[in-house]
């Protein structure tokens, strides 16, 4: 069931500019395909969140492999990736990657130039919305997408608050279409 596009945390009322709701996962797939230099930021909850018998992090690895999108692991996620034999493009604190993304002259996690699309998943809700807010206000060159199953008002695009099943289905569609 698709719940209304209200922020997940009740009092996190956004201002005049709020995220467009991803009603069709195909839109995200198309954005990814169109992006010149996307990046995927993965927070620590990716190793705690169940996903189809495994964890979200397993899906992320497959997703990154399929799309070639470089991954930034925040907090101790690097260890979780390492355990699975996957090497992210970078690991750094969440605030650090946020801070670099606002800088239009930053050459990106792989040195190939500024990123134009940043996807986020697996951070604490409140960390993610504050970082997305920073990017919304100060990174004009960047579009942001939240891949979490909750509505993130400060992203450019976000899912609404979704049930776990609905969300898994959506992410799988994105995977298929990219």
């Amino acid at each position: 069931m698709v719940m209304s596009a209200e922020p997940w945390q009740t009092a996190e009322i956004p201002g005049p500019k709020k995220a467009l709701v991803i009603t069709k996962p195909e839109v995200v797939a198309a954005m990814i395909k169109r992006a010149q230099h996307p990046v995927l930021v993965v927070g620590h909850k990716a190793s705690e969140t169940d996903f189809e018998g495994g964890k979200l992090v397993d899906f992320i690895i497959e997703f990154s492999k399929k799309t070639g999108i470089p991954v930034v692991a925040t907090a101790h996620m690097i260890g979780e990736f390492a355990k699975r034999g996957f090497k992210p493009a970078a690991f750094m604190p969440a605030v650090d990657i946020g801070n670099r993304l606002v800088d239009p002259s930053w050459t990106g996690v792989d040195g190939k130039g500024p990123h134009d699309l940043a996807l986020f998943v697996g951070l604490y809700y409140y960390m993610e919305w504050t970082i997305l807010s920073g990017l919304k206000h100060f990174a004009k060159h960047l579009k942001t997408v939240s891949l979490d199953n909750v509505y993130h008002p400060h992203a450019s695009w976000s899912f609404p608050n979704l049930s776990h099943e609905e969300w898994v289905k959506n992410l799988k569609v994105i995977m298929e279409k990219v």
Partner: protein, 770 residues
Amino acid sequence: MRSDLGLIKNLELSIGKIVEETWTEPVGPTPFPSLTTLREWDMKLLQRYKPFYLPFCDVCCLCTFGKCDLTGGKRGACGIDMAAQQSRIVLLACCIGAATHTGHARHLVEHLIEKYGRRMPLDVGGLNIQVEAPITRLVCGVKPETLGDLEEILDYVEQQITHCLSVCHTGQEGGNLDFESKVFHVGMLDHVGMEVADIAQIAAYGFPKGDPDAPLVDLGYGTVNIEKPVILCIGHNVVPSVGIIDYMKENGLDGEIEVCGLCCTAHDMTRYYNRGKIIGPISWQLRFIRSGVPDVVVLDEQCIRTDAFYEAQRIKAPVIVTSEKNCMGLPNRTNDSADAIVEDLVSGKTPGVLILDPEKVGEVAVKVALKVTPLRKKFKAIPEVDEILQIVKECRQCGDCRRACPQDLHIPEAMKAAMEGSLAKLADLYDLCVGCGRCEEACPAGLQVHSFIIKAGEKKLKEETYKVRAGRGPIQDVEIRNVGSPIVLGEIPGVVAFVGCSNYPKGGLDVAEMCREFANRRYIVVTSGCSAMTAGMYKNEEGKTPYEEFTGEFTAGCLVNVGSCVANAHIAGAAIKIANIFAKRNLRANYEEIADYILNRVGAVGVAWGAYSQKAASIAAGFWRLGVPVIVGPHGIKYRRMLLGRADREEDWYVYDARTGEKVHVGPAPEHLFYAAETKEEAMVMIAKLCMRPNDTTKGRAIKLTHYIDLHKRLYGTMPEDIHRFVRTIADIPVTMKDEIIKILEEKGWKETVIPDPTLLSRLIRKKKE
């Protein structure tokens, strides 16, 4: 000369009555600094640690032109942009924090002067502590000797806070970095205010005077003898608690009554009376009141739940409010006879009173406790298990509680299990809940979710019996002498201060674990405020709390509780004293040089894992200006901006070599000034990293790198990728990891560099380069 001018002017204008003949040290360049005196220093820091703004809100709603939409680079009707608006709010928050401590200090000093006289000497440790007020000496350039001397210092602090607050007005400052500089200024003032408050109360009340063996006192719900009348004090101002304790002692009642506290009042109470009991941090307020144990609730000021009066009424416990700042709508009975007030409170004629005379508070609280206890029979506001099992059936599984919960706790699932007859899942939430009560406010069915969690976790609550060392106050000069050299040379790998409130992302255990980890690694570990209590709420395999496990002496491998929030001044004070006592840098009004020294040489890091209040913001700001980085827990990101270094920007990490004037690249040490960590693991790795300083000797750097790499490997499962930024010469490499590291250095194209005598201040260069 700019400095001379400042010196003469300020001496004439500000020093006034302060006796300063006994201090022969020449006055440095910045006595009683104004809003812009230290601006250049601030800009040096802000160039390296640029603010990353994380707007909490898209709009400004401070004036009637607004609300103004500040998204997408728009400016408000007053012309302000989003960056400046965010730093304006940070400044406002820090002004609130600094005003809170300073207002508290003013009240305390006035009260103590009335009681003990202006001439009462400020003895905070006799011969052991000759630098009694390092922050005041550094900032103001004066040496306070008596209680009366503190008044002039507060005059200055109050005047400056007023100026800073006025900067927040619509249509004042427009530059975000200038706002930030003023944030630093008000943070610095906050530390002066805290220092004044704590040295005044130490001297007047005979709190432990820098005592490494301060007594171990009881901590936790389970330490309270609920058979006795229980007086609960909440807040940060010890004066009314002293009234209560003195009255009990004078009347031979101190064995009859339990006096316990929540928040910093609890710390200060146990510094005065070691039979006092600390229940826990701020987040224990609801659970302890609702438990029905307190027979009388006394509220002073700061960090009190503003619904404490309502909550106390639910358990039929009379309330006494004692502060002009917190009158809670209650009648002022200060001028009535104690017995008349007692009668009204005991009979229930009035549920609460305002009494502004602390001695009268003492008498009334004790008398009411004795009389009311047999009548009220510990009336609880928490339903019994069978009741809960019935009421939970009304849960609609709407999920509003979870969405309101700052920790996103899975309450609906726990409610579902309760509907099916098991409270086990609710009990699991007990350790993670920060006691904010938002779940209950959100519930459309009006369910007392927090109470259910407490009931489910009741067994754990009742087993909470721990020990914490009573707040010892300042660090002794001799301790500073002993550790100064190993800290500055890097052989003691760092000083880590766990401070602040209890908005923990995953419960308080994380704080205790971090303290243990770093004490075991022989860092100097210091605590204060709610973190100091939380650190005690843990027992090792032998049943010992960290305070029983580690020494209270300020040395490698210690766990030192300095005391309540205002005692944070002693942590900053210790860093300052390292520069002054150990390195013999002039202290008097010599702010920049001392801060430069600390930034480049003293591997100190503050950690406010559960930071929530505006006071925590201003305390952090005072540390930043001194060059001490602060890590907050993930909720701290809501402070609206971080001060982050860019390790990848080579040009940001140069210092002067004071010997030659040469500019030397020193790597990102310390990498950040203000930073929110996502997880405990991240915080621990970052603590080790932020302790590195340009001045570390090769031996010291090797030790610091060992801890950094070791923690990184254990918690991240990998080698750090930035070792090459911290190895300056081959000798810096930890011996046990030599081959591994050399390989990495080769891959990164590392080149050896020199270890300078580092400074950011060109005036400290001894021999200028031609």
